[in-house]
């Protein structure tokens, strides 16, 4: 499949802060590409370099096989939602969208047609004539997304698009994005802190301190980095002895016993071997949250 975004050995330092430290990645056409990492990992910096807001120190970036050195040739292909809203607070939603759309050489008919599409799909009819600073945070976010898509780009870059959205609006946004992916083969580069969004993606890259620390499809990552858990609600106390003897990590509380396994196979074998000691159980597959926290060196067990 052809690459729409290619990043090779990209570096960007802010003084001593190695914001982006020699990363390489490819986003393929039509892909939903998730870009994960703790706060300050370097995700926004990478994105800002891609769209020409920041100058890179070294490395190469290609978008649709064109170098970002000539950014104006690439920009019509890109729609971007920034981490924070950057539209004109004193202008109405309509004025904002109109003025921004006109930077892309749309005719008035094209603009009205695209606008109608997003107004319907993002349910913005009631806010269209309101000034931006009279909108709620979530309403503003919808306008940001409409702004990014108003010229029908082929690549959509989303920097934490759904932070602060209620579940209904969030699903509205994802419906729209998925709809466009299906119909127009839109490629999406997404950064998010919501793991349930990352799970839906085709490919995941996890960044930590400017470096890429893990890559793969969500399933590959889960198999590699996530632990499986067996939760026992009703069991023979003898099982604790076995766990201690075999040095298997576990946690015990009033309601259940939680046992950690590297993978599903080990969990299954343990349950089969000790079936006479187990009366009620639940097997939990590893989640994206696990992957994220294991890769970035944090522990989530207490959250389970």
């Amino acid at each position: 499949m052809e690459n729409v975004i290619e990043i090779k050995n990209l570096k960007k330092y802010f003084g001593t802060v190695k914001a982006v430290d020699d990363i390489s990645l490819n986003v393929k056409k039509g892909q939903l590409f998730a870009f994960l990492g703790l706060n300050g990992a370097g995700k926004s910096t990478t994105i800002n370099i891609l769209v020409g807001i920041l100058e890179k120190d070294s490395g190469e970036c290609l978008i649709n096989n064109k170098s970002i050195e000539n950014i104006n040739a690439i920009l019509p292909e890109i729609g971007i939602v920034f981490q924070s809203s950057i539209l004109d607070k004193n202008l109405s939603v309509y004025e904002n969208l109109k003025y921004r759309a006109m930077m892309y050489d749309l005719t008035n008919e094209q603009f009205e047609k695209n606008l109608t599409f997003f107004v319907e799909n993002l349910e913005m009819k009631d806010i269209l004539t309101k000034p931006l600073d009279k909108l709620s945070g979530g309403q503003k976010r919808k306008v940001d997304i409409a702004r990014a898509l108003i010229h029908k780009p082929s690549i959509l870059i989303l920097d934490e698009p759904t932070t602060g959205l209620d579940p209904k609006t969030r699903s509205l946004v994802w419906q729209l994005v998925n709809n466009l992916r299906k119909k127009e083969n839109l490629s999406v580069l997404l950064t998010t802190h919501y793991m349930e969004e990352a799970v839906e993606s085709d490919f995941v890259v996890i960044m930590d301190n400017g470096k890429i620390v893990a890559t793969g499809t969500p399933n590959q990552l889960k198999n590699k980095y996530a632990n499986d858990y067996v939760k026992l609600f009703n069991y023979d106390k003898k099982i604790l002895k076995i766990l201690e003897k075999e040095k298997i990590t576990f946690q015990k509380n009033k309601e259940f016993l939680l046992i950690e396994f590297k993978n599903t196979m080990l969990a299954k074998n343990f349950v089969v071997e000790n079936k006479h000691l187990i009366f009620d159980l639940e097997i939990l597959k590893g989640k994206m949250d696990d992957v994220f926290l294991n890769v970035t060196g944090k522990n989530l067990k207490e959250n389970l």
Partner: protein
């Protein structure tokens, strides 16, 4: 090229709309004309009248002409300061940096030069709108107290108004290229509003200032803008005075009220004054161009 012009049109109308939504800067920029007006009503008018009488001495001049003269002086001052202060008090380029709207334009396929020019043009249009209103008020006032402006005087004033505002806008936008906080805009705006009236001779004729200051002011392009406004507003009344007063006396009045001007002993013609203005505009345009090129590179 055509598409860049269309983009520019929309950017300009956006900038103008945003300017008029921000009522605060709009009113701040009207502080100088307002102060001038108050000063005029309270004591400047009498001062000018006394100065005139000192020159005229035993001759008598119709009260209507005197009123037209002082009124013309007031509004030439108002315009010469407003063209600059109104231009300086709208820092749209800086506001865009504060609200990060500039980033959105950075990721839109629009040329940096298109953006820059649209800031200057929008700035120019808003300044001209405000100044035209003031000019209109001036014409109305003069119609009531004594109107001696010819059609060519009005053309001169309008033309000069455009040039002066353009000069102000260019200089302001050069400064805005380096500024990135509201504080800078407010302080530059306040400073210019407070100071400019003095340097350009809006409150007191340049002729009454000390030799050193006089020698410095001849190098400010703004001085020539003021002088041209004086000419436009006062030529008619001076001609009218010429009907009853001896020539030397009219020349003396013209000199002490900045209607004629000498550059180190040589008198400066209207055409030369315009050339100085146009030359300065060209220079500042080039500076703005270079400065924004430089800025673009050091991201």
């Amino acid at each position: 090229m055509k598409s860049e012009l269309k983009k520019m049109k929309y950017l300009i109308s956006r900038n103008i709309k945003l300017y008029f939504k921000d009522k605060f800067t709009f009113f701040v920029s009207l502080i100088t004309p307002f102060i001038l007006f108050i000063l005029f009503v309270t004591f400047l008018k009498t001062t000018y009248e006394n100065n005139l009488e000192a020159i005229i001495q035993n001759y008598s001049v119709n009260k209507k002409i005197i009123n037209a003269f002082t009124g013309g002086w007031l509004f030439s001052s108002v315009l010469s300061t407003s063209c600059i202060t109104v231009a300086f008090c709208s820092g749209m380029m800086v506001l865009d940096k504060i609200t990060k709207a500039n980033i959105d334009f950075c990721v839109s396929p629009v040329k940096n030069s298109t953006l820059q020019i649209s800031y200057v043009v929008a700035n120019l249009i808003t300044t001209l709108i405000v100044c035209s209103i003031l000019f209109f008020i001036g014409l109305l006032y003069l119609t009531f107290i004594g109107f001696y402006l010819s059609f060519s005087d009005i053309i001169l004033i309008v033309f000069n108004m455009i040039l002066t505002s353009l000069l102000g806008c260019l200089i302001a936008n050069i400064i805005w290229t380096f500024a990135s906080s509201q504080g800078v805009v407010s302080s530059v705006c306040t400073l210019i509003s407070a100071m400019y009236g003095f340097i350009c001779g809006a409150y007191m004729p340049i002729n009454t200032m000390g030799e050193t200051i006089k020698n410095v002011t001849v190098f400010f392009p703004g001085t020539y803008a003021t002088l041209l406004f004086r000419k436009g507003f006062l030529n008619g009344t001076l001609n009218e005075m010429g009907k009853t007063l001896p020539n030397e006396m009219v020349e003396e009045i013209a000199k002490s009220f900045d209607c004629s001007f000498k550059f180190f002993g040589n008198s400066v013609s209207t055409a030369t004054m315009f050339l100085v203005l146009i030359g300065s505009i060209t220079i500042f345009f080039i500076i703005l161009f270079l400065v924004s090129k430089l800025k673009r590179k050091s991201k």
